[in-house]
Amino acid sequence: MNVAIMRLFAAIVVLFVILVAWTSRWSVFEAQALRDNSLDKRPLFTALRVKRGAIRAADGTVLARSVRARRGDIWARDYPTGSLFGHPVGYANLIQGQLSGLERSRNDELSGTTSELNSIIDQLQGKRRAGNTVVTTLDPDAQRVATDRLSGQKGAIVALDPRNGAVKVLASSPGYDPNVVRDPEQLRALNTDDANAPLFDRVTQGAYPPGSTFKVVTAAAALDSGKVTPDAPVLDGNTPRIVSGVPLRNDDGVSRGQIDLTEALTYSVNTAFAQLGEQLGKQTMDDYMRRFGFYSLPPLDYPSDQMVASGERGPRGRLIPVTSPLVDVGRMAIGQDKLAVTPLQMAMVAAAVANGGTLMKPRLTDKVVDPDGRTIKTIEPQEHSKPISEQTAEQLTQMMGRVVDEGTGTAVQLPGIDVAGKTGTAETNPAQDITQPWFIAFAPATDPQIAIAVTVENTQNGFGGTVAAPIARDVLASLLDG
């Protein structure tokens, strides 16, 4: 019997080896696939038990915080400022696995996800995992002014500090209250409201024809490439002008003769800029647009699927380079053709000019603070690109100052502060006089602290100078006041 007993034991050893093999299979070899299985609610429940960090405005105002849920040992999200910061802050609906805005782009910091090693050390010290507070660059007073000025309309305002890229205002109208998103019914209602698209962030996702504000880009390309100077009268300001076989007119119908670039920008002379665009050529325009950030997603700390890149868009909505035969570079130079540009991109153009030709990376976050109040991460200002030279920037600043002093943007004038800007009025439906007014600006012109872009959708016969510029003035006033 002894041999049989030994063999029986060997058989049992084999069975136990199978057990070890299968345990290894689930706990190590196939563990990642199991952890990623959506049926497994452990990651979600673990996340729900962590007190997610707060999101604060630059002045400390709480924009998002965690409160005890009514049911269960978990935390829920509360947004004390309601719809005011709906777009930049976004919402965190962990149970449905839905995150947006900063709640999504800063999820790792907010949920306290740190390295495995750190969490082991914390565990040994008996610390419970807790999220970090994200301090943003947002300015609640100015955000309120921006939101109020847009109420009842569809539009977007974005204001940032050109010196360091700190976004002060990010307002998209209509907005939404992130507090209601936890109700799946309400979220569905917000998602299916196609007429108003309240969840759609018009600052980063709204791709609009930029109208004449784009002339700043054309002028920048012309000056920086050395093709023209601000005051050499080399442009033809007469109207109409045949561009790509179709006559193009000046908005005011005035033929201005031979003019210089400054006058062309001050009075937003279409024919002169179309001529300039054709002279510069597609390649030069393509180069300068890319330098300003067109054709790539803005480098903002915001979810990438909540941003779009700006540029010419082809028939199926895809980005096409300026060099494409489909592009009418003359009309593009005045912001028409198939240009689709976000307000954030236009604010980046203004910011680059304001900051002596250097474009700083736009950012919403200033720093990350741990639950004990220690700053664990400071988001340092970062240079994104240098689209134009300092000299070009200076020349453009003076020209844009003229726009506000005596040209199309006089409505933005602020007592005691010199503003540099450019109006734009895209004709979205010329037959019914439906327009999209724009205004981009920065101030003070001599020492720029704020760059701004404002646009309003579908106004009846509204102009950049009459609709968008006054809004920009009020937001600038609020920001420069403090």
Partner: protein, 443 residues
């Protein structure tokens, strides 16, 4: 060093483990201050050590020559199980600790009253019949308890749900050891080769067919694939040890396979179990039939190589519904992997394997056939029980409701396994007595 002194030393790791384990759970809960921490975990450690030492002193007097490693191995398993259960629920742990006390009393009683365990042979048919009756009792109205579609429990109001399989496994092994001791010679001598397969003689093959039929009946009656696998596996193991004929085992396996296949395609409850086994993560079955095994696998994946530490696994959803059902009984192995990782789980399996190895060692040392068969049978059924439940939890075989010996929560399991331990120690003591050894040497 004498056997008993080695045993005493072997208890030290167990008491260290229980103290460290409770300390870890307290730290994770963060509920106690430093002083209380050391005090409470030391108290648990001290009580446990006290019980172990009491049992050890008893063994020193009653069975001085018995195997010195079995009891410390059981102590390690038991204290590990106690920590796991404490981590789930302190009330359950207190009850479990009480069952340990009752179990140790039963352990001592078995050793005292069955000192001459060979008189069990005289009652073998009574024991077999009693075991079968026990197994069928869960199907009776009023007292029967159905869990997850299987009939594995008898309700004793106010005390416990008694699990007859735990005791029946002992009865069946005692019966088989005794029956095969008588018939093993005839089974071998009378065997004939038919079509190249060695068949036992029909006269003696008959009772074995009856046993196969019992196993199948069991499958139908208690509807539990795992328990019948455990019983039938123990039967085949003993048959093999008794006859040394692999062909008998193969015939048995084929017969069991046919029966199992037939039942797994006709009995709805068994069909469900097999379906879930084939595709444990099927989203359509996840909410009901698949929930247990899917979460067992998720818990193991969550544990990884080193685990989340005692108290680190998520057992309930934030809305207080169970996330790992039956974590203290059927799925306790999944919780072990979750909290101490693959490394800890392998250590537990190694402890079981060491126990089984000592059991077989006892079988090898025993001087008479009944003792050998009894020790081998008890060890085999113990090993198979571990295989059936751990295999179920890791989806090697369909998941069924047997306990992980000495670790799972449950009175019947603890009591029965302490009796098993007592029987092994009795066989061991008899085999290792100096006079027995001398007799063996003379022979």
């Amino acid at each position: 060093m004498s056997a008993r002194n080695r045993e005493l030393l072997g208890l030290i790791p167990a008491s260290l483990l229980v103290t460290a384990g409770f300390a870890a759970v307290f730290i994770e809960r963060g509920s106690l201050s430093q002083d209380q921490l050391s005090e409470a975990s030391l108290t648990y450690g001290a009580i446990f050590l006290g019980l172990c030492v009491a049992a050890h002193v008893f063994l020193r007097i009653a069975l001085p020559h018995a195997d010195p490693y079995l009891f410390p191995l059981v102590a390690v398993l038991a204290c590990f199980g106690l920590v796991m259960i404490y981590r789930i629920d302190d009330t359950l742990a207190r009850q479990q600790a009480q069952w340990f006390v009752v179990g140790l009393i039963l352990f001592a009683a078995t050793i005292v009253f069955l000192r001459d365990y060979r008189k069990l042979e005289q009652y073998r048919y009574l024991i077999a019949a009693g075991s079968l009756v026990l197994l069928c009792m869960p199907r009776l109205p009023l007292i029967g308890a159905q869990v997850n579609g299987a009939y594995l429990g008898i309700r004793i109001p106010g005390v416990m749900v008694f699990q007859p399989t735990e005791f029946a496994k002992l009865g069946i092994v005692v019966f088989l050891a005794s029956y095969l001791r008588d018939t093993r010679q005839v089974l071998v001598v009378g065997a004939r080769r038919v079509l190249g397969v060695t068949l036992p003689p029909l006269k003696h093959f008959g009772p074995l067919l009856v046993i196969w039929g019992m196993a199948m009946l069991l499958l139908v009656v208690i509807r539990d694939l795992g328990s019948s696998l455990m019983f039938f596996g123990a039967f085949l193991a003993l048959l093999y040890v008794a006859t040394n004929r692999l062909s008998f085992v193969l015939i048995g396996l084929v017969l069991f396979g046919i029966g199992g296949w037939y039942l797994s395609t006709t009995v709805p409850h068994v069909i469900d179990r097999v379906d879930v086994w084939m595709d444990p993560l099927n989203p359509q079955r996840y909410q009901v039939e698949g929930f247990q095994i899917a979460n067992s696998l998720f818990a193991q994946a969550d544990g990884g190589l080193f685990g989340r530490g005692f108290g680190g696994a998520l057992l309930r959803t934030p809305f207080d519904s169970p996330l790992l059902p039956a974590a203290e009984t059927d799925l306790i192995y999944a919780l072990i992997v979750n909290e101490v990782g693959l490394v800890g789980a392998v250590a537990v399996l190694a402890t079981y394997l060491l126990f089984v190895q000592r059991g077989f060692k006892i079988a090898l040392l025993a001087r008479d056939s009944f003792s050998t068969l009894l020790a081998a049978g008890l060890s085999a059924v113990f090993a198979l029980q571990v295989f059936v439940i751990v295999g179920g939890v890791t989806n090697v075989i369909p998941l069924t409701g047997v306990t992980l010996p000495f670790i799972s929560y449950g009175g019947s399991s603890i009591l029965a396994n302490f009796v098993l331990l007592a029987l092994l120690l009795l066989v061991s003591d008899k085999a290792r007595r100096p006079e027995e050894r001398a007799r063996g040497a003379l022979r």
